[in-house]
């Protein structure tokens, strides 16, 4: 079996969950990884202290897209407070693959973007 490009990683890359524009979002952020040109816009609908809806758009490598797909599944319905306190280790556990230092930024782009969206809600996208 492939150590990095496992079937479920490739499956999330080909058909990412929660990919698309969220019409009723009230928090969003566009995160970018200037080193590789990856861009992700994370949109959230926050209601009653919980993440009621989530969607993401953008382009990137298999690792960053799979990570966004898995992360968005994970935070749906989660308390905002909990999502804000998710760590890099949580995301790496979710991915379940060995990430080399050079690819760490790819794996963590969605987490950083989601947390930016939560702390800077209502600000326009594209700040880097």
């Amino acid at each position: 079996m492939d150590d990095l490009y496992r079937d479920y990683i490739l499956e999330h890359y080909r058909r990412p969950h929660n990919f698309g524009v969220l019409d009723d979002a009230n928090a969003q952020f566009e995160g970018a990884n200037p080193l590789c040109g990856d861009r992700i816009t994370m949109q959230l609908r926050v209601s009653g202290g919980k993440i009621a809806g989530v969607g993401f758009t953008g382009r990137g490598c298999a690792i960053s897209q799979a990570s966004a797909s898995l992360l968005t599944d994970e935070i749906k319905g989660k308390a905002v407070d909990e999502a804000e306190h998710m760590t890099s280790a949580d995301v790496l556990d979710m991915l379940g693959i060995e990430i080399s230092p050079a690819r760490l930024k790819c794996a963590l782009l969605s987490l950083e973007t989601m947390q930016h969206a939560l702390t800077e809600d209502h600000t326009p996208a594209g700040h880097q």
Binding site: Y5, P34, C36, G37, R59, A62
Partner: protein, 432 residues
Amino acid sequence: MTVETTTRPHSEAPDADPRIRDGRLVPEVVREDFPILHTKTSKGKPLVYLDSASSSQKPQVVIDAVDTFNSTYNANVHRGIYEIGERATAAYEAARDSVARFINAPDSHEIVFVRNATEAINLVAYSWGRKNIHRGDQIVLTEMEHHANLVPWQLLVQEQDGDLEFIPITDDGVLRQDVYEVLLRLKPKLVAFTHVSNTLGTINPVAEMTAMAHAAGALVLIDGAQAVPHVPVDVQAIGADFYAFSGHKMLGPTGSGALWARRELLEAMPPFLAGGEMIREVHLRRSTWNSIPWKFEAGTPDIAAEIGLGAAAEYLLALGMGRVREHEQELLTYALVALQREHPDLDLYGPMDAGIRSGVIPFNVRGVHPHDVAQVLDREGIAVRAGHHCTMPLHERLDLAATARASFNVYTTRADVDALVAGIGEVKRLFA
């Protein structure tokens, strides 16, 4: 290593050199001079190094030159009245002579040693630029510049209230000379462009572009970082005013590099960095400057690296830069044909005419991000670059987020290209 690795003057019967057969370079023999090309990756794969545009590998003669300095005559230059100090100075200045000969500079005092092409361009922007660029003055650049020949000029015009204009490129990555002609009517003070594109490999018509700039009254700076390892460079034939390059892309050590500029320009320019070495007399409230090039070499330089650069220049002179160019052009043609034949769905960028292109191949495998391409190739032992290669505006112009890039040097063989072609097949299988 059985192959002789000492350098010899170009004139000495080159056909006696096993690296040259029937006047052509034999890369399979040249490879023997590069110890790293005989190593294996941690997965046990032989290293297929296709990232020379990022940084080249070093032949044994360069490694030895640095080692010998460090282990037998390490001392500061231009200071010690003792044997090894004098030897260090002589070797450092001999390296300057080699570099001057390598680009056919008329006078080795016109060679300023710097850390890399970036520092050379910053030196000109800071020293010449702040004295000569004023409110409303124009500097003409191109859309294909590496950030190193873009950002220093952005800082300069912000500070001096000048303006930047850009020569656009065609879709296949060639400079629009017709637009350049029009931009020259703005009477720019300086035109700065790359000799060879680090991303597309385009070889620009530098002599013609320099003549046009001079006719319009502009000075010319050429970023030669990607040219010196790949094409014969003669600064007198080009006629430019400033020529900047790094050592580590032309088989030399990191931390080595040079700025060539015409003597009268260097003499009129104020110092860049200030401190020891660059002075003649220092009083508490004023100083006078050393002569060129030392006026621009403040502080202890990277002596070992520049001595290594001198060895790299001699090594390339012995191979013959005309032969190096022929080898790379032939290999580029081979690669472009093989890639298109085996992978017709591969997206290739840059001019398809190998006659105006150096050994650089940017590409994308459809539906696969270049990072993933590079990662899968890495597992086969193949090193390519993935990203924007420090040319974000060029990628924006071509509407690309990123590309993968394979690039060649004197030691690159058809077997390396074959490995790349097979590796791309592996990428496609995994992501199919």
